[in-house]
Amino acid sequence: MTQAQNSASDQSTFRVRATFAPLTHLELTNFEPGRFERELEEKAQQAPMFFRESPLVLSLERLADPDLEIDFAQLLDICQRQGIKPIAIRGGNLVHQTAARGVGLLVLPANKPHSGAEPALEPAPKVEAPAAPEPAPARLTKLIDHPVRSGQQIYAAGADLIVTAPVSAGAELLADGHIHVYGPLRGRALAGVLGNTEARIFCRSLEAELVSIAGQYKISEDLQNGSEWRKSVQIMLREDRLVLEPI
């Protein structure tokens, strides 16, 4: 695996990764250049660090008049004077979108009605309510609240595993994600069994026979020689090596 990674990094100067960065939205309800600049200046002074160096999205979804004419060049000028850098607009009509592209802004699709965005500047519980039942697409977690005994094996497929009871010697925990053990961990714990190197193992008392993350493992003999034995630790992979850190 290490070899494969090295050769990959030899051939390519970049790699594509999907990450999430927070995007600040500026929701316009109206656009009068003079008033907009005044208000923006006030906001920027209140929280100078908040807008600096952070990508900003101009949302046109809350416009009082959806077909309001907006001079995007002028709008960008105003923003720039306050040290704010819009990168995209969200929503808007076809005219808005064409104009925005013209000044180098990206056009993001409008939010779905129940994506969590406020329907108006005023809190509007009638729209908040239907938003609640839709669960976030959280990763599943397998929860075990009874002791895991010798000879038992528990596998959290595609999920994290939480055990709130002791894990006996001779028991085996497997998870594609993280493993958390709140009783003493005396058996084996293998996190990231499908190769997820980001997976970690957390335990309150490390007394394990074996711990493994994405195939890299340490056995009891190695663990007992360390200062983390019977301690509260997290175990993670760093540069292909298992690292134990007290928590």
Partner: protein, 271 residues
Amino acid sequence: MARIITVTSGKGGVGKTTTSASIATGLALRGHKTAVIDFDVGLRNLDLIMNCERRVVYDFVNVINQEANLTQALIKDKHCDNLWILPASQTRDKDALTKEGVERVLNELSERVDYIICDSPAGIEHGAFMAMYFADEAIVVTNPEVSSVRDSDRILGILQSKSRRSELEQEPIKEHLLLTRYNPERVAKGEMLGVQDVQEILSIELLGVIPESKAVLTASNQGIPVIHDDKSDAGQAYADAVARLLGETVEQRFIEAPKKGFLKRMFRGNT
């Protein structure tokens, strides 16, 4: 409906049959109708411990195969009322125990008695599985040493995953830990696991601690369950365990090494 209590351990030689005999006797002495079944088909011992081997005509396998009825096979205990023994067959093997057959015998027995004690064979094979499958409660007999504790842990896992209660998603089998052959002096010297060590590993409720005692071997050889020997520490410890099984709160004894003082020894005899 009778309460079905399985006496099990995984490991052999830890005192399952001794415990089955004494717990069954103890329940009977307290006035509860009790039957004790030997599931160790092929290696029957319970009838020896209970001194009824010369009265065995029909056995558990005969009843399962409907070659005899329950009344013919049950042996009335000579030492106390309310107690019956269903002996194992010496000439068959454990495959003779079918799930349907065992269930039918247990159901029939349930209508006659209050408690059914199942004396499990060692191991985790068919015989042990049959002895635990229908249980409501389990007494896990453990010696204070690592291999016995490990095997008990394994058995506890099987109890919670392969019993009828787990398959029907009923309330799980109630587990009791019975620590036998306990020697507080050796624990104090660090030669033996202590009660707390074992409890920490197994994390189940402690039913009792039976001290290592000459009385146990004497009782086995005489065919009189050691609980009848109420002068002995082991006999008293079993009586305490029976009381706890019946829901009474009895303080644990025989856990601490006796102090060498004269007065202490005097008092110990009376408590």
